[in-house]
């Protein structure tokens, strides 16, 4: 299988009033067809801007360098016309906020049908019929009746399913899902993940899933890339990541997941990582996580850790990798 999406050395600087800020530094990752890759990290670590920059939707003050080869063509260097053909047809996106991602003045049926008319050149009638099928596909009950409804008549979960229906309307090879379940409650979240999983299995759609929710990652992802302050700190198949996390940041993230309390840990507080994600005003020297890291040693402050493979298929950027579960206080 050839690689579907290959990001190489993606670097994003933001020009702000206080000077440039480094949002993403030298990020590389690869996504195979029909694979679900999760990009995980806390707020402000550069996940979303990475996703947006793939479709060249990054804010105007962002300077994006590097390559993002999709089907062999660099999305970041592609002329606008070609890019428009890729958007929607080959790559589509599901946003975090279903409440604001649909146009309030048109019925949902019309919005889905419009995508089909534009890209597939379907007639009105065919586009409408297909839109009903799509609503059916994302398990919206009474799809025919729902076609005529406006977004505000639907719940958040329903709207998110409409968004997914729009995203898959043209059989894209890749769906970028930016926190698709964050705004939804847990039962609806599970349904939406089921739909995404279903799409992957039935149509071989690859999914780049952006999330901070490790529960979602465990549920649906094949591979995981952990980001911290714009850097890839760890990459692993989902099983390995949860079983043998190597990077102290990953371990910290996993420690912050609430678990059912057992008798010996009934009074255990959720582990937290002290400190905040740093704002990088220049390319950092040393490990970006060092200021918050319990394994910090002097070399960490000066040596930027390279991404090193840990067999069979794990990569970690840390001078002191290891699976120690408890991070000493």
């Amino acid at each position: 299988m050839s690689t579907l999406l290959e990001i190489h050395d993606l670097t994003i600087w933001f020009d702000t009033d206080e000077g440039p800020v480094l949002a993403v530094n030298g990020l590389s990752l690869a996504l195979e067809p029909a694979q679900v890759l999760a990009l995980v990290g806390e707020s402000g670590c550069g996940k979303t801007v990475t996703a947006l920059s793939l479709l060249r939707l990054a804010p105007p003050n962002a300077r994006v360098t590097g390559q993002a080869r999709f089907d062999g063509k660099d999305l970041l260097a592609m002329p606008g016309r070609q890019l428009r053909a890729v958007r929607g047809r080959q790559i589509s996106m599901v946003f975090q906020e279903p409440m604001s991602s649909l146009n309030p003045v048109f019925t949902v049926g019309r919005q889905i049908a419009e995508v089909l008319r534009r890209h597939r050149k379907l007639s009105n009638r065919d586009a409408n019929a297909r839109a009903v099928e799509l609503l059916d596909l994302v398990r919206i009950p009474a799809a025919l009746r729902r076609m005529e409804e406006y977004p505000h008549q639907m719940s958040g979960g329903m709207r998110q399913r409409v968004m997914i229906a729009m995203a898959v309307a043209c059989d894209p090879k890749l769906i970028i899902a930016d926190e698709p379940t964050t705004a939804l409650d847990v039962t609806i979240q599970a349904q939406v993940l089921d739909i995404l999983r279903d799409l992957r299995e039935r149509f071989g759609t690859a999914i780049l899933l952006i999330t901070h929710n490790l529960g979602v990652v465990a549920d649906i992802a094949d591979r995981v890339v952990v980001m911290y302050a714009g850097h890839k700190v760890e990459q692993a198949p989902v099983g390995e990541l949860f079983a043998t996390p190597q990077h102290p940041y990953t371990i910290g993230l996993l420690g912050a997941v609430p678990r059912r309390q057992t008798h010996q840990s009934a009074d255990r507080r959720l582990a937290e990582i002290p400190g905040l994600v740093p704002v990088l005003r220049q390319t950092p020297t040393g490990c970006v996580f060092a200021p918050r890291c319990t394994r910090r040693t002097d070399p960490c402050q000066v040596t930027t850790p390279e991404l090193t493979p840990i067999p069979p298929d794990q990569h970690v950027a840390c001078l002191h990798p290891g699976t120690r579960q408890e991070v000493p206080a």
Partner: protein, 296 residues
Amino acid sequence: MTVTPVDPQPALTLTARALRRRRARRRFTARPLAVAGALGVALVVIFAVFAPLLSPVDPNAPNFDTVLAGPSPHHLAGTDQLGRDVLSRLFYGARSALLAGVLSTLLATVVAVPVGLLAGYYRRILDAVVMRIMDVALAFPFLVLAVGLAAVLGPSLVNATLALGIAQIPVIVRITRGEVLAARELDYVAASVVNGSGSATIMARQILPNVLSPVVVQATLTIPTAIVGAAILSYLGLGVQPPTADWGAMLSEARIYLSQAPWLGVFPGLAIFLTALSFNLLGDGVRDALDPRMRP
């Protein structure tokens, strides 16, 4: 993807749409003030259109036998200093009021909405240039600007309409541009970009329909202002020229005779006031009925 095809059943589509329309109509008719406004506007329009049929006599024919006569069965609104029938002149005056008021607003909207849309969408230099020009124009109060423009263009109904229209442009550009700036950052615009829409599609299909509502509200609010403005221009002699009947011009002429013949001032004044009020009520009613956020 293969899913069992479902017949879209156009009949159902139609009923749902008809239902929505009926609901909007019902919401409008449920407001007595809105209905009153609509009736008022309809009445003014009828007066303007059928002025020749409704007028008992020629509005411009002087009759020196009955000069400055008070309201009577013969002249329901009295006569003016030349013995012309005030009621007939009121009917004909509705024409210039509507033309100057509604046309100028229409003109301003047609010009200002695309300008505001482009400025707000493309931002950068275009936005900076357009908005600085609008800022300069906005530095003058609406009426001062309209009076100045009318004075430069020369007194006539067409020029008064043009002047009122141009004077309204900056406000509408500003409102449109502000709404566009907010709308273009919304997720559904980004979603449309992701779906491969070009700039023209995004502006026309995603942004414009969503910014139109405040623009329409602004336009309906400026129609009465423009009607009053038209009357003021005529009052100042910058609009409709005598002997053509116009409410503002009638007020102006009435000034001298106000103590002997108060009806000369009262009736055109009432006409202006009631027309402006009717348009305001109608505008509010239309907005309330059509606002998508108020749909059940």
